[in-house]
Symmetry: C2
Amino acid sequence: MDILDDVSAEGVRTRRFDLAREGSIIPGLLWTPAHATGGRPLVGIGHGASGHKAESYVSTMGRHLAQAGLAAVAIDGPVHGDRRADGGSDPYLSFLEFSAAWANDPTVTDATVADWQHCFDALQQLDDVGPGPIGYWGVSMGTILGLPLVAAEPRISVAVLGLFGSVGPTADRICSDAAKVSCPIRFLAQLDDELFAFDHVLDLFRLLGTEEKSLHLNPGRHSAVPSAEFFDSGNFLVAHLLGTTTAAGA
Amino acid sequence: MDILDDVSAEGVRTRRFDLAREGSIIPGLLWTPAHATGGRPLVGIGHGASGHKAESYVSTMGRHLAQAGLAAVAIDGPVHGDRRADGGSDPYLSFLEFSAAWANDPTVTDATVADWQHCFDALQQLDDVGPGPIGYWGVSMGTILGLPLVAAEPRISVAVLGLFGSVGPTADRICSDAAKVSCPIRFLAQLDDELFAFDHVLDLFRLLGTEEKSLHLNPGRHSAVPSAEFFDSGNFLVAHLLGTTTAAGA
């Protein structure tokens, strides 16, 4: 793992890294409490299509989790961010190319699962991360590629998913993997989602194999998740991973 | 208002009262912080069909809210609890008689709204309640009779509703009142609700006129709301009424 940048501000240390796997590079960002020593649970944050590891809500969540005492990592998804020659500067182009890859390249999901697992392995070698339980936060493309990760990775003990349903080129895989999910899940949904209709989102929620699952539905379009819901979803992970009973009682 | 009983335990003062309105008696319970002085927001708690003002989850919520600094009041609903000669000792009989009244007595909803408003008026005369914003918590029958209250009472600034849908003898009234609701709403729903199918529950949620609304859906039957969800719904009221930002970010 090459650390490309290492800065601390407002109580959070941010490390930018490149991690090699099978000849390709996984570009990532790691947030931890500044001056942290000793192990702590790690959360993977999967960004949405068109975005990247450093976009506003991803780094806001990473910093929020680190301020609560966790480690958090985001990596660029396939054909996104620093995996691209243009650095992901054109969100529509990233979105278009992901749509094509999703439809036509059956290896995309497994490659992303392997990237995450390789990333967790490497980061858990660090003194201020260490071995232990892992959480996952990812909606929309973060669920398309992240639900199979949650189903496959036994270290993941809690996750936030959503803004996606039982549809799309990989619907069979997603629905099959949903049944394998056994950890507590917070599932975010938007009543007026223009990309994935609520009926399909509800279908996918129903398919989740875990008994401990809760769907939070708010009015508005795909990207209009309320700020309070967003932060509460992070606090849900904190409560589970740090074993604290927050005001959310989660 | 006749105070029939007044005891304090574990930081909570509990007063049992009878309040007269138009020749009938409203039997109630008031929970406040022990040794409280000065005004504080008040929450009305509407119990479900077959229950009463003192049943376990109602008094648990009342005590939880009082421990957070609020005043909370529960009253027996129509044909329930101490409004009955048998004191509500047979839940099936209360349930049966409410079902009949709901279907055949068009005055039940308005009488309950008037009971609540009379109760709020009387309690806000107390030194340790006083004037101010009011919250409401009531699911199932607590929504059948409470949603019209939330629509009608301008002092109510936040509410928890749910476990009910766009069905039943008063469906037209409920759906019409839903559109008039303008305060923040947390709406509880159960995926496998055997009394009110989720499709109808979702319909009623859609009809709520407020933009600030969130539906929380959990697996299980009508009465299987998870404990964490139950307490979180109380904390949602606390956060709004006391203006605190809790971990729930509500």
